[in-house]
Amino acid sequence: MDSHAAPLRKARDSIPAKAGVGLRFRHHQVVLESHPASAWFEVHTENYLGGGSAPAYLDAIRRDYPVSLHSTGLSLGSAEGLDLAHLERVRRALERFEPGLVSEHLSWCIVGGIYLADLLPLPMTEEALEVVCRHVDQAQSHLKRRLLIENPSTYLQFRHSTIPEWEFLAATAKRTGCGILCDVNNIYVSACNHGWDASAYLAALPPEAISEIHLAGHTVRQIDGGRTLRIDDHGSRVAPEVWTLYADALARFGPVPTLIEWDTDVPPMAVLLEEADHAAALIEEAEIGNGRALAA
């Protein structure tokens, strides 16, 4: 590496422990024109694998902001193995955009060569843990990058699961050296849907592995019999209960790069920045709290 260029690059490449915004196509132009006060941006890798205007926009935005690449298509939990052509496309995107962080989900989406366009739930078994760890190793070695693995929202559990999701995540991080992308909204949604204790989930995660946090809105769907199911649709502001859980997460993990995600009916950038400001204020409080703890 060119040692003279290193300090500059580092400042530009790394994702700060501040609030960022998920960048969607409708905001490409406004980001270039008005240079909004987001500390960083994250994009869905799969939307930038081709040519044309989308990656050209990201090239331009990347000159001014740190960027994180968040994948949805690596299918780390596929029993049949990784789609190596897709892994190679992602590697080329990393080469082009030089992201500060690279992440994927604890889920699967491909079987029999068919892409099922969703983050599908894994059985929490020793077999699935081995498959996921093997694929995280394989992806990290092909991409030559540390991956962050995100907990997904789930709507069902399998009878033969034997490992709690939080232990599964912690074991994956321990065995592969990957980081954890802690989606606080997903923890809340899954905890409500399955009757888990969200605080106990947070408390079980290894703080040293937490490298990013996601926040988003979800909806509550009424089911027959007065029951509800929470759906992670990324289509509204972060729920008050999720902000509370986020403050707990910061108290436990310290300041962590935090992203506001919004994918359904994407609002104007100003609304996303308001949500990011809320997260930034909580990060600042956590920093003050950390300072007090150190001084004491």
Partner: protein, 265 residues
Amino acid sequence: METAAPSLLELQRALHNSLVEHDACGISAHVVPGGMSPAERLNVYRNTFAGALTTALRLSYPAVHRLVGAEFFKGAAGFFIESFQPKSACLDDYGEEFPAFLSVFEPAASLAYLPDIARLEWAVNRALHAADMEPLDTQRLGALAEAERARVRFAPHPSVSLVRADHPADLIWRAVLEKDDAALSAIYPGAGPVWLLVERLPTGVEVRRMSESAWRFTSALCDGRPLAVALDEAPDFDARALLADHLAVGRFIDFSLNDTSGNFP
């Protein structure tokens, strides 16, 4: 009833069958009910699967979507998704078979030009997302001997498509996307066929009409016919000027030399 624990692969195949074939027999027994039926839980995933693919099709086929309306489009997409699922996680590549599907989709038969619009939109979609490639350096052609030049077979830029439509698909497509009802009603759908070149230029995606002979010559070059053969087959217009235009715009990215120029099938 106790059910043996499935392997990860068995479970994933069963969930695939539930999402794609609407056959939940294999998966339901493995789902914890927990106050809701497995079917209700599986429905969340089925809706996401169908919704994501319908959205991908709508983004690639916006004019078809406007022409038939949201409800009809959703229904057609639902049938299409049952037969065609994506092969990769790049959804920009999904839906290539949609125009052919629409051409035999009975409920859409009254809109005769719909498959033409869909074929044009697929070409536009390809042009939008094709890989960025450097155009052919024409100095490499200049360095060839005359005899070698006759054997040149071009490789087209991946954004370039040639579309022949029975109907004036370009006019209809443009009027629909611009919501120009006056223009749309002024179009005579029988005013075809049209020969179109679709490509991505630095300024954006272009759809331009060509004469039939210019289109045939360009098609021959894009299909990799040797230059001398393509020129021989295009005697009635200035093919060399068009070739110069193709090279200047960067419609080719590379070339190879045919083994023997006279031996092309």
